[in-house]
C-alpha cells in the first residue's frame, strides 16, 4: 500500500505564533493513524489544514496524489472529516443533514437514499433519522456526523477528538465504529489526547508537540524505544518513573529501592513515552 496522505514541510502561524512547524508526515493507505499530543500541540490545526478549513503558510499536502492547493476539488472528494465539535445543522433533522451532505458531494437522489439507508442501518440510526439533531445524545450525534462524513465513500476519514466529552459507554461504542470502518478498508486519521484510545485503536502513532512530530511508530515500538518495562515509585513525595528493556533489569532496580516505598512494575504505555519525550503530561501540564 502506498502513502495516501503526504504532508511536507507544513507551516502554519497565527499572529506570528507558530502552530505547525515544518511538519512532515506520510500516512499509508488503509492504516489507522493516531495523532497524539497535548492541547495546543498542533493536532487540530494540522487536520484543519488538510481538510482545507485553514490556509497554511508554506509546505505541500497531497491526498491520494492530489495537491490540496492545485486540485482542491479532487482532494476534497477523497476526504471525510468529523470535527471535534459535532457540526450538524441543529435546525434540521438528522435525515436532512445527511441529504445536505450528500448534495454537497453532488450525489444523485437514488444513490444518496441508498447510501443513507445502508449507513443508517450499519450505525443503528434508522429510528433517529427524522428527529431533530438536539434530541440525540452526544454519542448518537457523533454517529450521525460520521454517517454524514462517510456518505460520499471517502478514502480517508479524519476524526478530530471523536470521543471528547463522551461518557465511557458512548466512547466504547465509537471505538467499535472506528474499528469497523478500518476493517472495511478506510484510512483513518484520529487525533486524540486520550492515550488509551490511541493504544487501543491505532496501527501507528505520531506524537506531536509544539507543531512538530517528535516520534512516529507503532505503539509497541514507541514503548520499546524508552524501555518496555516501567518502574513507578515514590521519592521525595513525588512519583518517579524509570524504564528498562527487560523485566529482570526492572526487578533489579526495584530491589535496590528503599523498603517501605510502594513500587509498581508494569508495561510501559504511550503516556510514559509521551512524558519522556515532551516532559509534559498528555493534558499539557509540566
Amino acid at each position: 500500500m502506498g502513502d495516501i496522505i503526504v504532508i511536507e514541510d507544513l507551516v502554519k502561524t497565527f499572529d506570528g505564533k507558530t502552530a505547525v512547524d515544518r511538519l512532515n508526515l506520510r500516512i499509508r493507505e488503509g492504516e489507522l493513524f493516531g495523532f497524539l499530543g497535548p492541547n495546543g500541540a498542533g493536532k487540530t490545526t494540522t487536520v484543519r489544514c488538510v481538510a482545507t478549513l485553514t490556509n497554511f503558510d508554506s509546505g505541500t499536502i497531497t491526498v491520494d496524489g492530489y495537491d490540496l492547493v492545485k486540485n482542491p476539488r479532487e482532494a476534497k472528494e477523497r476526504m471525510g472529516v468529523i470535527q471535534q465539535q459535532v457540526s450538524l445543522d441543529k435546525d434540521l433533522t438528522i435525515r436532512e443533514n445527511m441529504i445536505s451532505h450528500a448534495m454537497y458531494h453532488m450525489m444523485g437522489r437514488a444513490e444518496r437514499d441508498e447510501k443513507i439507508r445502508e449507513l443508517s442501518d450499519f450505525f443503528g440510526l434508522e429510528e433517529y433519522l427524522d428527529r431533530p439533531v438536539d434530541s440525540l445524545s452526544g454519542g448518537w450525534k457523533k454517529r450521525a456526523a460520521i454517517v454524514c462524513a462517510m456518505l460520499h465513500n471517502p478514502k480517508v476519514l479524519f476524526l478530530d477528538e471523536p470521543t471528547s466529552g463522551l461518557d465511557i459507554n458512548a466512547r466504547r461504542l465509537l471505538w467499535d465504529v472506528v474499528r469497523r470502518l478500518h476493517a472495511g478498508g478506510t484510512t483513518i486519521v484520529l487525533t486524540t489526547h486520550y492515550i488509551e484510545e490511541a493504544e487501543a485503536l491505532c496501527d501507528r502513532v505520531g506524537i506531536i508537540d509544539h507543531g512538530r512530530i517528535i516520534a512516529l511508530d507503532t505503539p509497541q515500538r514507541l514503548c520499546e524505544s524508552v524501555g518496555s518495562v516501567a518502574v513507578e515509585y515514590m521519592e521525595d513525595a513525588r512519583t518517579r518513573y524509570r524504564y528498562f528493556g527487560t523485566r529482570e533489569e526492572a526487578n533489579a532496580f526495584a530491589a535496590g529501592i528503599n523498603t517501605g516505598v510502594d513500587v509498581t512494575i508494569r508495561r510501559t504505555n504511550l503516556e510514559d513515552v509521551f512524558v519522556e519525550l515532551t516532559g509534559k503530561s498528555v493534558g499539557g501540564q509540566k
Binding site: 490556509n55 476534497k76 457540526s87 450538524l88 443533514n97 448534495m103 454537497y104 453532488m106
Partner: protein, 257 residues
C-alpha cells in the same frame, strides 16, 4: 452553467428546509416591522402631496419596500450564516466539500432573497390596497422594472448579510454591525423622505450607502407616471452588489472566516 445552478440549489436546500420548518414564524418576523413602518409613517404621520405630485403614502411605500429588502434579506442571510458558522459549525462542513465558491455565495444568499421577496411583495400588495383606499385611486404600479429592482435589492442586501456574517467574530459583533450600519441606513437613506431635499453634503454622504440607491430605484420603478426610471441608481446598486459579492468570494477564498 447547469452544474453551477445545481450546486447553488444544493447549497440552498438546507436553508429552504429550515424555512419550511419555520415558515409562519419567518413570515411574521419578515413583515412585522415594515408593516409597523407603513402604519406609522405612511398612514399615521403625514398626509398631503409631495413635491413630485404624489400622495405621501404612495411616496413612502416604495421606500418601505426597499427598507424591507434590506431588513429581511440582510437579517435572514446574516443570522442563519452566523449561527451555522460560529455555533453549529455546519458551515465548515460545506467548506470541506467540493463545491464552487460561487455556488456557496449564491446558494447561501437564496434564503435572504426568498424571505426578502416574500416580505417586499406582501408589503407592496398591502400598500397598494390600503394606499388606493386612502387616496381614492392608484398612483403606485406593479411594473416589471419594479420586480427586477426589488429582486436586485434583495440580492445585494443578502450579499451584504453574508459579508457581515463572515466577518463577525461573535453574535455581539453582528449586533454592533446592525446598530452602526443597518439601523442608520433604515432611517436616513431616502426611505421616508426625498434625498434631493437635503443639503448637497448630506446627499453625498447618503449616496455612499446602498439603501439610498435601492430606495430611489424602487420608487422610480413604482411610480412610472411621476418619476423617470433612475438608471444611475440601477447601475449604482449593481455596483454595490458586485462589491459585496467580491468581498464574500474573497473571504471564502482566503479562508479569512
Amino acid at each position: 452553467m447547469s452544474n453551477l445552478l445545481r450546486q447553488i440549489y444544493y447549497v440552498a436546500w438546507g436553508d429552504m428546509m429550515f424555512m419550511r420548518h419555520n415558515f409562519l414564524n419567518i413570515l411574521i418576523m419578515s413583515i412585522m416591522s415594515p408593516i409597523l413602518y407603513l402604519i406609522a409613517f405612511g398612514f399615521g404621520l403625514r398626509t398631503g402631496t409631495t413635491d413630485i405630485g404624489v400622495s405621501y403614502v404612495s411616496f413612502v411605500i416604495p421606500g418601505i419596500v426597499a427598507l424591507s429588502s434590506l431588513n429581511s434579506s440582510f437579517s435572514s442571510t446574516s443570522t442563519r450564516m452566523n449561527v451555522q458558522r460560529l455555533y453549529y459549525r455546519s458551515f465548515d462542513e460545506m467548506m470541506m466539500c467540493p463545491l464552487s465558491l460561487h455556488a456557496i455565495v449564491w446558494g447561501k444568499c437564496m434564503l435572504g432573497l426568498v424571505r426578502g421577496l416574500i416580505a417586499c411583495f406582501i408589503l407592496y400588495a398591502l400598500g397598494l390596497g390600503l394606499g388606493a383606499a386612502r387616496i381614492g385611486g392608484m398612483e403606485l404600479e406593479l411594473t416589471p422594472m419594479f420586480v427586477v429592482c426589488t429582486v436586485l435589492s434583495c440580492i445585494v442586501f443578502s450579499f451584504l448579510g453574508m459579508a457581515a456574517a463572515l466577518l463577525a467574530k461573535s453574535h455581539q459583533s453582528m449586533a454592533t454591525f446592525n446598530s452602526l450600519i443597518i439601523l442608520p441606513m433604515t432611517f436616513l437613506c431616502g426611505t421616508f423622505f426625498s434625498v434631493s431635499a437635503l443639503h448637497p453634503v448630506f446627499q453625498t454622504v447618503l449616496y455612499c450607502l446602498p439603501l439610498t440607491y435601492s430606495s430611489e430605484l424602487i420608487r422610480s420603478a413604482a411610480l412610472p407616471d411621476f418619476l423617470e426610471f433612475d438608471w444611475l441608481c440601477l447601475v449604482g446598486l449593481i455596483l454595490w452588489g458586485v462589491a459585496f459579492y467580491a468581498i464574500d468570494y474573497w473571504l471564502l477564498k482566503t479562508r479569512k472566516v
